[in-house]
């Protein structure tokens, strides 16, 4: 029975390689989309220009403090800051061409200084933001408060504005009649000490930095090995391989339905062949093609974007093979779902898109609600993603791939079993 089995597998492979659309959908399209996704999500480790938040800074004060704030914002690695005017900034945020706009009002430096030492009313910095980017707004607000605190405190302790405000404040306290001696004395001491510090800092520049955060952070991306940077293309290629692998599964199922529609199934069934030969050969050819899709896409990612199998190669191949078998089973199941190729295609594309989305191929799963994250364990795509990511950029060993492999094989058996049980062997009319 090997001659018909081999011939049927060979036929499927041949049909795949003469079909330009199939080649495009399995290789060119996933490579193009994964390359794009990989680039916009950080690429292969060059973080200098990746993912910067575009911020417009409007300085209506033009004081030393406001200039210092804008300079500090511009120096932030995560921000791309450009000067603007109030009207232009609002229009740009509204159109979505800028994510956040920071508007420093007139007389901000003076009012902030006064509020720094006394009970004066605090000035307001306007923050205009695109509501579809609220995460970025929170990030810019955090950076802004740190920069404002440093700029204002520096100017208050060492700058001319600070000295003027200090002198005025000291005179106000000394002349104050209503203030109790228990408060007046310590406050005079504090302001005189600050004045002495200002005078000393003229001779000792190291003391003129103002208040600063009492800590710094040492950030380290935990990847496969030390000094190996995270490669955004690894996640993107894993996602697209899973998505287009499942699309290949749809084509397998639709192909079977088309063979039935075109009378080819009659010819196959008329031959003295077992059902296992007929369906098994289709499953094997589908698995070979899905495996090939994974390997070719990752080979491209390896040579063009430096995506390496940093972990277990055996694990990577095992996950690829288990995913390919699951895809084959999925394809066979598709062939039993509908009666016509046209009706089945629409439904199965919808199912694949849902499965892929919930598998974390498009957006990271941590953005899902907790209950939905728990639900993803029933998505084969999630296990394929886990397995591919574990063995590529996470650099984990074979043991990390075993669970995804086992789960994918279970899905393959489930889909294949359902397909055999539901398959319409009879040829009507």
């Amino acid at each position: 029975m090997m001659i018909p089995f081999r011939a049927l597998v060979r036929k499927d492979l041949l049909l795949f390689f003469v079909d330009r659309r199939a080649l495009l959908m399995s290789f060119a399209v996933p490579i193009a989309i994964a390359s794009f996704f990989g680039y916009v999500t950080g690429g292969s480790g060059d973080q200098a220009n990746a993912g910067k938040i575009f911020v417009l800074a409007v300085d209506r004060d033009h004081s030393a403090i406001s200039r210092e704030i804008v300079n500090r914002l511009s120096a932030e690695k995560a921000l791309d800051v450009k000067p603007s005017t109030p009207l232009d900034a609002r229009a740009a945020v509204r159109k979505g061409s800028a994510t956040v706009a920071v508007i420093i009002p007139p007389n901000f430096g003076q009012e902030a200084g006064e509020a720094f030492f006394g009970p004066s009313e605090k000035p307001q910095i306007g923050v205009l933001f695109d509501p579809s980017h609220s995460a970025e707004r929170a990030m810019v607000a955090g950076i802004l408060s740190g920069d404002v605190m440093q700029a204002v405190s520096k100017e208050m302790f060492t700058g001319q504005t600070g000295r003027d405000v200090l002198k005025t404040s000291l005179a106000d306290v000394e002349q104050s009649q209503g203030m109790s001696p228990q408060i007046k004395k310590p406050l005079e001491d504090l302001l005189r000490s600050a004045d002495r510090l200002n005078r000393q800092s003229d001779q000792t520049p190291g003391l003129s930095g103002g208040l600063s955060m009492p800590y710094t952070t040492r950030e380290e991306a935990v990847t496969a090995h030390e000094n190996v940077q995270y490669n955004g293309y690894a996640h993107a290629f894993a996602g697209m391989v899973v998505q287009f692998g499942l699309f290949l599964g749809i084509d397998v199922g639709i192909g079977l339905l088309q063979q039935r529609q075109r009378g080819l199934w009659k010819r196959f069934r008329a031959a003295p062949l077992s059902r296992s030969t007929l369906l098994g050969s289709r499953a094997v050819s589908a698995a070979i093609l899905a495996f090939l899709v994974v390997q070719v896409n990752f080979l491209f990612a390896r040579f063009v974007f430096g995506v390496k199998v940093e972990g277990s190669m055996l694990g990577f191949l095992g996950v690829s093979a288990a995913f390919a078998l699951m895809t084959a089973g999925f394809g066979m199941l598709i062939a039993t779902l509908g009666k016509t190729p046209e009706a089945t295609r629409g439904l199965s594309i919808f199912v694949v898109l849902i499965v892929v989305m919930l598998g974390g191929a498009w957006i990271p799963m941590f953005l899902f609600p907790q209950w939905l994250q728990k639900l993803t364990v029933v998505m084969p795509s999630r296990w394929a993603m886990d397995g591919l990511e574990a063995t590529t950029w996470r650099g984990l060993g074979l043991e990390a791939a075993l669970l995804p492999i086992a789960v994918l094989l279970l899905f393959a058996a489930l889909f294949g079993g359902l397909a055999v049980a539901r398959f319409r062997w009879e040829v009507e009319g």
Binding site: I3, P4, R6, A7, L8, R10, K11, L14, L15, V18, D19, R262, G263, L264, K266, R267, F268, R269, A270, A271, P272, L273, S274, R275, E426, V427, E428, G429
Partner: protein, 311 residues
């Protein structure tokens, strides 16, 4: 030898085939004639083992068909009504696959492919993709695909649908060659001309039931007349008494249709001269005489009360 006995098949409430029986011997072409939806394809599907009958038996050379892998299936070749070919592959690649389904590969497959392509006249186009073939060429390749394993019984399900007359004649020539080689052919069609040209026996099916099963001559004998004489006169029908003509020996009926006298005869050769003499003797000089032979359309009409073409 193919023996089919009392096959029945229902799909839900629809009784598609209701007790069909037929025999087809060595070197015989048996036609299954009936309108669309009569149950011809379902019958062929049951004979080929594609569909399990609700009841009845199919015997190939005395043995019943059992199971998907029954080696007796090698004795059957099926030509489906659809063009069951892979358009994107070459004719040779298609035949290579279909040969492999019957365990043929290597030299045996090469020889079989060469022989069948030669038979259907496509040997010089073997390396072309099927999508570039004309409809007629595809039909011939569809036939070739069923012949690779040299089956004794060939089931042809409307194998000439949608082809030009030239290609149809080429297919008929191929089938006559196969008949001369002693093959048993079961040919389903709703074209009576095809059944008349090719078939030794014709099984007429309507609503899933066999309404007649005989040779062409046997079927014609079911008709009240086998021939019709059409006579036209310069002077019209004046003075011709239809009752008198019907009294002439051998005449079954006489009537006027659009100014033409139509006379039903059982034997054209012996009875035509008598009718013409009778007319001349009475001064009814005719301008034109033509004869029409009875056909399967008339048989179907007689048996079912409906025209085959209108069904």
């Amino acid at each position: 030898m193919l023996e089919v006995d009392a096959l029945k098949k229902s799909y839900g409430n629809l009784l598609a085939v209701n007790g069909v029986s037929l025999r087809a011997g060595v070197g015989e072409i048996v036609g299954l004639l009936g309108p669309n939806g009569a149950g011809k394809t379902t019958t062929v599907s049951m004979i080929a083992g594609l569909t399990t009958p609700d009841s009845g038996t199919v015997r190939i050379e005395g043995r019943p068909l059992s199971g998907d892998r029954d080696p007796i299936k090698r004795r059957i070749g099926l030509v489906p009504q659809d063009l069951a070919l892979f358009d994107e592959l070459t004719a040779h690649a298609n035949l290579q696959l279909f040969a492999a389904l019957y365990n043929l590969d290597g030299a045996a497959a090469k020889r079989a492919i060469g022989d069948t392509l030669e038979l259907v006249g496509l040997a010089d186009r073997a390396q072309e993709r099927v999508k570039n073939y004309s409809g007629g060429m595809k039909r011939r390749l569809n036939l070739a695909a069923a012949l690779l394993h040299d089956p004794q019984i060939l089931l042809l399900d409307e194998p000439t649908v949608g082809v030009d007359p030239q290609s149809r004649n080429a297919i008929f020539d191929n089938l006559e060659v196969l008949k001369s080689r002693g093959k048993t052919l079961v040919y389903t069609t709703h074209y009576m001309e095809e059944a008349e040209r090719l078939c030794d026996r014709v099984v007429i099916i309507d609503h899933g039931q066999v309404v007649a099963n005989d040779t062409l001559q046997g079927l014609y004998r079911l008709l009240p007349v086998t021939n019709l004489l059409a006579v036209e006169f310069d002077s019209g029908q004046d003075g011709i008494d239809l009752n008198e003509i019907q009294a002439v020996p051998g005449v079954r009926f006489a009537k006027f249709e659009a100014g033409t006298l139509r006379v039903g005869l059982q034997n054209l050769a012996t009875e035509t001269p008598r009718v013409l003499e009778w007319l001349v003797e009475r001064g009814h000089l005719y301008r034109n005489v033509a004869s029409e032979r009875a056909d399967l359309e008339s048989v179907f009409l007689t048996l079912t009360g409906r025209s085959l073409r209108d069904s």
